[in-house]
Amino acid sequence: MTIRVSGLRKAFATAGGRIEAVAGIDLTLHPGEFLVLLGPSGCGKTTTLRCVAGLERADEGRIEVDGAVVDDGDRFVPPERRDIGMVFQSYAVWPHLTVAENVALPLTHGQRRVAHREIAPRVAEALALVRLDALASRPVTELSGGQQQRVALARAIVTRPKVLLMDEPLSNLDARLRDSMRTELRRLTQALGVTTLYVTHDQIEALSLGDRVCVMRAGRILQQGTPLEVYEAPVDTFVAAFVGDMNFVPGTVRADGAVDTPLGRVACAARAAPGTAVTLGMRPEHITAEPDGAVADSIDGVLRARTFLGETTALQVEAGGLTLVAKVRRAPTSSVGQPVRLHLPRDAWRVFDRAPAA
């Protein structure tokens, strides 16, 4: 099942005037793919998802599911006639029904209803998949948040949709539950082979779940790629900062490709004309704290703070008038206020145009 979104635009009238939530988006989901829309709140990711669901009508553009147009201005297929399942941020389980009744309703009264004798086995199958078979006859309001979320998931897959849409499904869960649900979601979608569009503002979810990640901002897609590509080769400082922490250093490109910065000359290979203002970026985990002694690509600074994080230790180091953050496995012996030497490997620098958006 391929989903193709092209030229999608959607604006809302608010008290403060018209706001363009989605400002031209092109997107293709391949069969069985898990695609994550990642971005801050208000970036248009949920609106995009809701347009695919048919809960919003596009202002412009076209949405195709499996080659059939579901929204292009003339044609509009309402959500109940699209072959989709959806999990909502609020779970949206129906509080007047039991667990099994919640899961059964799409089969009994929906467009994709099935023969009466098939209902019970289908509901049981869906509940077994989310490991809730034991609670089938419970009122859904007696369940915990995590269990309600699984009811919502079972309800979304019980019709065996070709497409699963998820709108920040884990954001209302506590951290521990979120981790285990994330693993379970991955297992489930792979087992079902369902094409999944997943919306989140949490970069860990995006990087760990997605086959592909689209980073969005202000109604546009800034970058799409595998989690590794997006993390290792962000196209700009916004993407870089959104998918993880990054230290930014302003600089000017020299004739030999190196960059002059407040930290000194950085021997990275900037592919820009000499004299161009650029921003260099390095992720904190690429920095190591070196013992004294002259090593290439090292700088000296003063340790301003250290935070023990368990596996790593976060250091704040002041150097060249900047504050750099490093996440190191082996913490230096220096205490706060003492000098410390950092190793900034030249290969780990990313070079961005000087438009530090974030």
Binding site: L55, P78, F88, Q111
Partner: protein, 577 residues
């Protein structure tokens, strides 16, 4: 190019059309009839004759002055009781205050005309028992108190407004953030000073809002002016309109005059509505609503408890026990006689035995028909309205919301006159005029405001994702409404159905305006019997009406497992005013 994403659905347009006809129609017809002479459907040019005649009549200014004095005097009575009661019930540790509030929510349903009848039995110069007692005790020549006066009318009406006023005002008190008071306490300001300098100014918009709202109601109230004012020949706008369409002596109904008077009433109501919305806006500016579910510690009454209880009991005595007790007593006696040990052997159930006549049997049957139709119609339309208003992005939802709420502000006497007019116009095509159906229709229109407000409030609490989960689960909009939304708002649905039924059951103003030969209901039967001087049979019928109502409330409260003082009851109390 943006395409128009919001094509209005036929359903939305249908609901809008229905509301325009049902709610806008009667009002438009008031305007129309005020510009025509003669009977509905007769040939008449558009003319201002009705207005000219009205404004030239010396009677008009008197009516206008009477209406204003009646409204102001009634509100004076109301607020003398209302403000202390609201304070006592919502801010102090007065014993039994919860029970008192429950009582308020029930007595609000006792129709004003029955209270008026009870008071006449107590205070009329001829038959009033209190008057006769006072004359006997003090050897007076004439009756010292006269209910048949402006004061008597305002007294009865004013008392009848208190419960509705309480529910409006207490909402503002309850919504007030106690931190505002506590900030005053911690600044070293005493409790009474705090009440005076913080509570009263903060709730002033609510006080003003309640005042203006009740003033709007008082300007169009008919029951006390009808029962007390008509025999006393003290006319207000509502009773003049009633007489225009129901001439007491021989004569044809004068819809032109009713229309002109109705326009005057509408303009007065509109002017008050402007003040009302100003008051509401001022209230919002203070923004005392914080929504924190925290109850302030009530003020301790201490040695004032006795006095406060005496005040509350005196109020309830006048509000319900005296007039209703009188009604019950009179229903058990063969003629009007003061309660005493000597009178006990005379007690009889004969009045109840004589209740059932062919006339009253038809009244009963008609009432059942009204109760079968009106609440169902009002709630069904209200569901559609609430769904459109709270659940769709339709551009028409604003106007639909306003239209559904409009009957709240439109005097019921005018809706009835407008309906009568349209029924007369269409009597060749639809046999509506003089049928019980038109009364049910009038009730449904007038109580739609209440039902849609209740359902709006309930539906807005249903998270939109619950509905969307139905749609992506494959349920059509109608299936989603039926299997998801309606079950979720069922308590509000049942509650508003029940309250509309109760309100329709005791409604008399519109039923009287629309009354012809065969569409009498129980309430109009009581009225008619009263005009015929059947005091004791009126008492029996009135007592039965109230008893059945109380029984229904008890049954419904048990069935719905809800305190009668729910939000529905509070909203219903306003509709009952």
């Amino acid at each position: 190019m943006l395409r128009s994403a919001r094509r209005e659905s036929p359903f939305t347009i249908g609901v809008l059309a229905l509301l325009l006809v049902a709610v806008g129609g009667p009002i438009a017809l008031i305007v129309w009839m005020s510009l025509r002479r003669g009977l509905p459907g007769g040939a008449s040019p558009l003319t201002l004759d009705n207005y000219v005649a009205l404004f030239r009549s010396p009677f008009f200014l008197e009516t206008l002055a009477n209406t204003a004095v009646f409204a102001m005097l009634s509100l004076l009575v109301t607020f003398v009781f209302l403000v202390p009661l609201t304070f006592l019930f919502s801010r102090t540790d007065l014993p039994f205050r919860t029970g008192f509030v429950v009582m308020l929510s029930i007595v609000v349903l006792i129709p004003t005309f029955l209270r008026a009848i009870g008071w006449i039995m107590l205070l009329s110069p001829e038959i009033g028992l209190v008057n006769r007692g006072l004359m006997a005790v003090f050897g007076l020549e004439s009756a010292p108190l006269n209910i048949y006066s402006m004061g008597g009318m305002a007294f009865v009406q004013g008392l009848a407004f208190v419960p509705a006023g309480y529910f409006m005002l207490s909402a503002a008190y309850r919504a007030m953030d106690p931190a505002l008071e506590e900030a005053a306490y911690t600044s070293g300001i005493g409790k009474l000073t705090t009440f005076r300098t913080v509570d009263v100014p903060l709730t002033f918009p609510a006080l003003l809002g309640t005042f203006v709202y009740l003033a709007m109601t008082a300007v169009s109230a008919f029951e006390a002016p009808g029962i007390i004012g008509l025999p006393a020949r003290i006319f207000v706008l509502s009773s003049v309109i009633f007489l225009d369409v129901h001439p007491q002596s021989v004569g044809l109904p004068d819809y032109g005059a009713a229309g002109a008077n109705g326009m005057v009433m509408l303009v007065a109501g509109l002017a008050l509505a402007v003040v009302y919305f100003r008051a509401l806006r001022a209230g919002r500016r203070f923004a005392v609503l914080t929504g924190r579910g925290y109850r302030p510690r009530p003020l301790r009454l201490g040695r004032w408890t006795g006095l406060a209880l005496a005040f509350v009991l005196a109020f309830f005595l006048m509000e319900v026990f005296l007039p209703l007790g009188m009604l019950v007593w009179a229903s058990l006696t063969p003629y009007l006689i003061a309660p005493s040990a000597d009178a006990l052997p005379l007690l009889t159930l004969a009045n109840y035995g004589r209740m059932l006549t062919p006339q009253s049997a038809r009244g009963l049957a008609n009432t059942v028909v009204v109760l079968a139709i009106a609440p169902l119609l009002a709630v069904a339309i209200a569901v559609a309205v609430a769904w459109i208003v709270t659940r769709t992005a339709s551009r028409l939802r604003g106007i639909i919301d306003v239209l559904a709420f409009a009957p709240h502000a439109v005097p019921s006497v005018l809706v009835a006159v407008g309906l009568a007019y349209v029924a007369l116009l269409a009597r060749g095509a639809i046999p509506l005029y003089g049928s019980v159906l038109i009364i049910a229709l009038a009730d449904a229109i007038i109580y739609l405001a209440f039902a849609s407000r209740t359902l709006n409030a309930a539906m807005i609490q249903v998270h939109h994702e619950l509905e969307e989960a139905g749609r992506v689960g494959g349920l059509s909009p109608l299936a989603t409404l039926r299997h998801v939304i309606v079950p979720l708002v069922r308590p509000a649905l049942l509650n508003s159905w029940f309250w509309v039924a109760l309100l329709s059951y005791r409604e008399v103003t519109m039923a009287l305006v629309l009354l012809t030969q065969f569409n009498n209901v129980i309430a109009t039967d009581i009225w008619t019997l009263w005009r015929e001087g059947e005091v004791n049979r009126v008492a029996a019928l009135g007592t039965s009406l109230v008893a059945v109502m109380l029984a229904l409330i008890v049954v419904a409260t048990l069935a719905l497992r809800r305190s009668p003082v729910s939000r529905t009851a509070a909203a219903g109390a306003e509709a009952a005013a």
